[in-house]
């Protein structure tokens, strides 16, 4: 499900399945995109932050056009205890690899991978990022 912001429109509530993973996309070229994500985060139930939220930062290939500061993004990941992924949508290889990563995370969050829970996976990802 693609949405431009949260909360989701209520008229579609009855058509929506269970949400297993929320990926917030931040375009590093747009401050507006970061603001939008920050505003939308307020509408997310706390239980999602136990491994079912991740931040996907796009547009990292174009260094000259960075509008959003890396510190702000790291801070966001820390405050909301969620992993931060980086990708460049314009390059097919990276796009496909990122999609595969997200798919794997989704499988874990949906409970399809026995022995690994969303929470344990996210804490795994966080501790490796800290190193």
């Amino acid at each position: 499900h693609l949405a431009t912001s949260l909360p989701l429109p209520s008229e579609r509530d009855h058509l929506r399945p269970r949400i297993d993973l929320i990926a917030f996309m931040i375009d590093i070229k747009s401050k507006y995109s970061l603001k939008n994500v920050e505003a939308s985060l307020a509408h997310v139930d706390a239980s999602f932050f136990l491994g079912k939220v991740c931040f996907l930062v796009t547009g990292v290939g174009r260094v000259n056009y960075c509008s959003v500061e890396m510190n702000a993004i790291w801070k966001l990941g820390e405050v909301y205890c969620s992993p931060v992924l980086f990708c460049e949508l314009e390059l097919e290889g990276i796009r496909v690899a990122t999609a595969q990563r997200l798919l794997r995370m989704l499988q874990i969050c949906a409970g399809h991978v026995p022995g690994v829970s969303a929470l344990s996976f996210s804490s795994l990802m966080r501790s490796s990022a800290d190193e």
Partner: protein, 346 residues
């Protein structure tokens, strides 16, 4: 043939892209077909231009004939110049039949009476457009052919497009000559400038697709959001919002391509409104500020802002009124009176 004419022809030919040189020389018609056959158009431009100059030497070209090639070049590549738009006014309602010879005669006479050293060329095109090329000199110097001004006048309209590139001091003289020659009363500069001559024409002749107010009680059900993916597994949660944005955008911008402008400039002369606790200015003076929007294609980029999620729809009328008001330079002053706000001044 004069040295300066030879050099001018050489430099003009060098400006032309190599594949276009032959056609342009044919349009010029100064060199005969047999002469053109002798030129090898596959060599480097330097050599082509030398060959052309050689042949022009044989035909003893003068500066007026060389200037015609320059007009042809600028008519095909007008977007290399910056154009301003002027509007003329008639005093009464009398519509006189336009006489081209009379126009040319009056124009030349007016200019020459003030300035002896000018090179004036006229060229008419099918769409009723009259192109005038003027090279300016001073009472003591010959005209500078490299800084010529161009005027495009559609005789059935009161609009004149000028690409100056000359001393501002000659502009009033040029305007005067145009007014006198075309039997108008006065002329004023519109706040409209762009590199794209055709787009300027589209705006003032109202040739772009405008948003006609149609009464539409219900949003058109058939309207599809631009098909992003045929994949039915992707569900767009904000589909109705996207449709609303498309509808609003279409109402404002119309369906067709937008005229091409490169910038819009807003000069603010409004009071600075801040938190009274943060006393930025101790004097109650208008805060002078200039806001400039630039883009390779400003109106198309404004049109795509809301669908791209970068701005809310509808956009500010200050941005969307540009084609209707036929201006891209604005002065915004404080509205005096009971309702403080801002209004756009002429």
């Amino acid at each position: 043939m004069d040295e300066t004419v030879a050099e001018y022809i050489r430099r003009t030919v060098l400006k032309i892209p190599r594949d276009e040189i032959k056609t342009m020389l044919q349009k010029w018609g100064f060199l005969s077909e047999t002469q053109l056959q002798t030129i090898n158009f596959h060599q480097i431009k330097e050599n082509i231009s030398q060959d052309v100059v050689q042949l022009c030497e044989e035909n003893s070209a003068n500066i007026k004939q060389a200037a015609v090639l320059d007009i042809i070049y600028n008519h095909i590549y007008p977007n290399k110049r910056m154009w301003s738009v002027y509007q003329m006014n008639k005093r009464g309602e009398e519509t006189e039949i336009f006489d081209l010879t009379d126009f040319k005669k009056k124009f030349k006479r007016r200019l020459r009476s003030a300035l002896k050293n000018v090179t004036i060329n006229f060229r008419e095109y099918e769409d009723n457009a009259i192109w005038i090329r003027i090279a300016w000199g001073t009472p003591y110097t010959k005209p500078n052919q490299y800084k010529a001004s161009y005027v495009v006048y559609h005789s059935q309209t009161p609009y004149i497009f000028i690409s100056a590139s000359m001393l501002r001091s000659n502009l009033p003289l040029l305007c005067q000559a145009l007014v006198v020659a075309s039997n108008y009363h006065d002329i004023r500069e519109m706040e409209l400038r762009s590199h794209s001559l055709n787009s300027l024409k589209d705006i003032v002749f109202k040739r772009y697709s405008q948003n006609f107010q149609t009464y539409c009680p219900r949003p058109l059900q058939e309207r599809n959001v631009a098909p992003e993916s045929a994949d039915l597994r992707i569900i767009h949660e904000n589909k109705s919002e996207k449709e609303r944005i498309q509808r609003v955008n279409q109402e404002v911008f119309g369906d067709g391509p937008q005229p091409k402008l490169e910038f819009a400039q807003y000069k603010l002369e409004t009071m600075f409104k801040s938190d009274p606790k943060i006393d930025v200015l101790d004097k109650k003076e208008p805060f002078r500020c200039l806001v400039k929007f630039s883009s390779p294609h400003l109106l198309e980029s404004l049109k795509s802002l809301a669908p791209a999620g970068l701005a809310d729809a509808p956009l500010s009328p200050l941005l969307t009124c540009i084609p209707q008001k036929a201006r891209n330079y604005f002065k915004i002053r404080e509205k005096k009176g009971l309702f403080p706000g801002s209004f756009v001044s002429p």
